[in-house]
Each structure stands twice: as C-alpha cells, then as structure tokens.
Amino acid sequence: MDHLAPPMSRRADLVSDEHVRQAAKRRRRRISDLTGWGFIGVPTLVVVGLSLFPAAWAFYISLHKWNLLTPAKPIGMRNYQRIGDDPDALSAVWNTVFFTAVFVPVSIILGILLAVALNQKIRFSGFYRTAIFVPFVASAAATGILAGFVFEPNYGVANDVLRRLHLHTMKFLESPTQAMIVLVIIALWGQIGFTVVVYLAALQDIPKETIEAAIVDGANRRQVFRHVTLPELAPVTVFTAVWQTITALQLFDLVYTTTRGGPMSATETIVYYVYKVAFQESRFGYGAALSYLLFAVTMLVTLFMIWYSRRAKVEAF
C-alpha cells in the first residue's frame, strides 16, 4: 500500500474526502435499493413465481408423458405432433374458433348499438343501464345453471315464448347444431355489459365540439355517426376486439355448467378439452402441450389484430 501513498497531505485529504463521499453515495444507493426492493420484492416474487416460472415449467411438462404418479417419461415434441392427429383436439379448436368468430363481432356491434342508445338523454336510462350491466357481475357458473333452466326444452321459458308466438320449439343446448349458438347467446347476456361500459366511456370522451362542428357543416345524424362517432370509437374497438377474443378463446365455465362439452362434443372448447385431458384423464404432458397451443393461438390472434390496426392507422396500443 505504501507505494500508493500520496506525496502531499493535501491530496490525501482530497482522496479520503472523495472516498468518504463515494462511500456515502454507495450507502445511500444501497439504502434506496433496499427500500425499492422492500416495496416491490414480495409482490414481484409472487407474480413471477406464480406465472413466469410455471409457464416455463408447463413447457417442460409438455415434453413428457406424465400422469403425476409414475416418473415422467421424456418424449420430445411428440405431444405437439399428436395434436394434429387428434380429432378431439381439432374439433375443440374448431368449436372454440367458431364460438369466438360469432361472439366477438356480435358483442362489438351490440355493444356499440346499446352504448349509443344508453348515451341518449331519455327517461328510464338508469333502469336500462342497470339491467344491462347487472348480469356481468353474476358468476359464469350461476349464469350457466340459470341458462340451463331458461333453455330447458320442455318447460324452459325460451320454448314457452316460442310456443306463444306459434313458432317451432327447439332443443337448444341438447342439439349438437344449436348448442354452440345458444352458448354465444348466454355469453353475450353475461358479457355485453362490459363492452357497453367501455363504449359508453369512449362515447362520452368524444369532444362535443367535434360533433357540433359536423352538424354546423350540414351533416345529418347518420353522417355524424358514420364519419365522426365511428372513427372516434376505432381505438376502443381494437381493444375490445382483442379483449373479447382472449375471453372467448378461454371459454370454460359456461360449458362446464351447461353442456359439459356435449352433445356429442359439439361444445367442447380448447380449455374444456385441456381440463378433461389433464385433470380427468391424468395426461398432464399432453394437457400442457394443448394449453401451449391455446397460448399460441391467443398470441397469434392478438398480434394479428394489433398489426392490422396499426396498418389501418388506428392507435390503440
């Protein structure tokens, strides 16, 4: 250490001064690091431990044949290859895509329509709002059980209404061709409140001046809606479409409490199939591969929508 000794005491003072400042700075930094991690440490650990870590583990599990009881057998990508040859998996994907393709556009169109209607200053609008929003807070389990009652073919209200109108009664959830459409209707009943609320907020964000200016320029109500209101709603629509798509692709609760995937697997969705494969048949490796398929489909659809909206110059994300 001797050869490092400074020749002049003044410089020594400076150096040690600098030293002290550095040490104080380091200590302050350590304290702020500790404070920072004191705030975010536990929550971050919980989030990462309960999502990033299991997500990675799910991929590892998907490379194995495993029933949890006997040791896992590594089989490479075979679980993924099997999906293409599994008619049940393909029909689950088809059912899910069908549900999504009907549910999302209808929920957007109905959402805009009802939001515009509820945005009018008319009587009873408070009652209308409450009635349309309330089903959103009812659990999907209860909604499914209630739907089973309403659409019961013999004494359900739905067929009673059809009878009174002198129309043909239907089998609804017991018919392989109708069940999925009925599920869309039930899901709309339970979910539309969300879409309407989001569109209502967006409508109220449109500056009044914009609409007034259009009217001054001689636009009629339809033109205002077409050329002012709708473009203003575009970003929200991209968001709602993505959100509702993700929700629709994950359909499970309603299926579980109404049809349990029937009749004849007509309403078996991807998540329901994952549930069946993993938790009823104990094929955890294959179930994990299927859930990665769901993840991939979700990502692809979401990225496509964002890409499409960017191309159409809608700023949503």
Partner: protein
Amino acid sequence: MRARRLPFSAWHLLLMPVALIFAVPLVQMILTSVMPDKDINSFPPKFIPTRFTLAGYRGFFGEPHAWRWILNTVVVATVSVVSHLVLCSLAGYGFARLKFRGRNFGFFAVVGTIMIPTQLLMIPTYVLFSKLHLVNTLGAAIVPWLTSAFGIFLMRQFFLTLPHELEEAGRLDGCSPFGVFWRIVLPLAKPALATLAIFTLLNSWNDLVWPLVAINDPQNFTLQVGLTTFQGMHRTDWSSLMAGNVVATMPLIIGFVAAQRQFVATMTLSGLKG
C-alpha cells in the same frame, strides 16, 4: 310523408325489450327459488309463484357443506382483496416513484406475465401446489389471488398521475419513503384502491376453473365449485338450484346496485387499461 312522431323516444323500442331480456332471467331466478315444485313442473311454466316457499333454500342448505362454501368464498375473497390492496399498491408505488437498481427489470418481468393466460398455468401450478401440500386446501384457492400483474400495473399507472410536490413536502418534513407512501400517497389513492378491490372481488368470488381442479374435498369448496357440484347431484331440482344461484350471485348484484358508479368505473378501467 313523414311518419307521425312517437310520443316517446324511438330508442325505447330498442332498450325496453333488451333490458327485459337482461333482467327477466334474473327475476325468474329469484322467483323460482321461492316457488313450490308444483308450479315449476306445471305446463305451461309459471313465472310468478302461486305460493311462497323456502323449500328451495332448505334444499340447498340441506347440502351439509353449503355454509362452509359460503364461508370459504368469503375468506378467499377477503384475503384476496386485502392482499391485492397491500401488495399491488406497494409494488405499484415502488415501480412508479422509487429509484433503485433492477427496477426496470422487475417491472418488465411483472408486466410481461399479463400476456400469459391462466389456463396455461393450471397444470404446473397444480403440480407445484401438490408438492407444497396445498392441493385440496383452501390455500390453493387463495394463493393465486394474492397479487396480480394487472393490479400492480393499474396502481403504478395511478401513482404516475399524482403530482410529485406532496411527496417532496413529506420527505422534507422528515418522513421515510414508507411514511410518505402510507401517510400521504395511499389516502390519495382511494379511487384506484376501490377499483382494484372491486376487480379482485369480482374475479376471486366468481372464479370456477381453478378451485375446481385444485380442490376435491367438499369441505374446502368455494361457493362456485359447490354450486356446480350441487348441480351435478340435483339436475332437475330447480328451486334448490336457483336458491343456490341466488346465494352465489346476490351479494355481488346487491353490491353492484348499491355502488354502481364504482363498479362501472372498475369495468371501464379494467377495460381501457387492461
């Protein structure tokens, strides 16, 4: 010739039937829960009961664990909400306001998980919980709801909108960072906290698929799982099923009607910021 004007706004022609379609099933659920079986099985079906009876509720609460399910759900929802409020506001504040090493890394790790669907996590979480002996306990239903990336993100966005001056004043008065957070920032965050609480309450109360796979012991069922199990055993006992439905949905529906403004704010925010 112009059509004669209606004495009321034409919007009612759309809204009235739609509102009825949304409201009538819920009204029917309540009416059926107090309806005698004779009415339910009559043809054509009755909407208004000829006689008021609690037989449906006796049926549902005849299920030996029904009260436990309610208690379990209340416990799950309470712990989830309290834990969400504490952990999400702590992390949200840390990410929004404090400067420390690893902040950006931590934030991206948290926000990145928003994209991961919970269904992907079901299988590994089940395996993990069974190794930790959490499966079949009420803890299995609680732990995934302790905090969430979305909640942390929500609180961070809110804290970013607060003006810095108040916190600086607090620090000059000698408050520690936690003191500033606890005494100055949190009281200002009540609207955001209310939103987060409602969001968590809705999700934890209504969750079905996760407790369904993680809990097999009827003692530890949540209300939603209990309800579907009860449905499996009483396929056509509609008054009891509707009674169970009323029990499972009414607390949130009453909360919604009582605090509609707050609920709607939550739905909007979880929509626009999700």
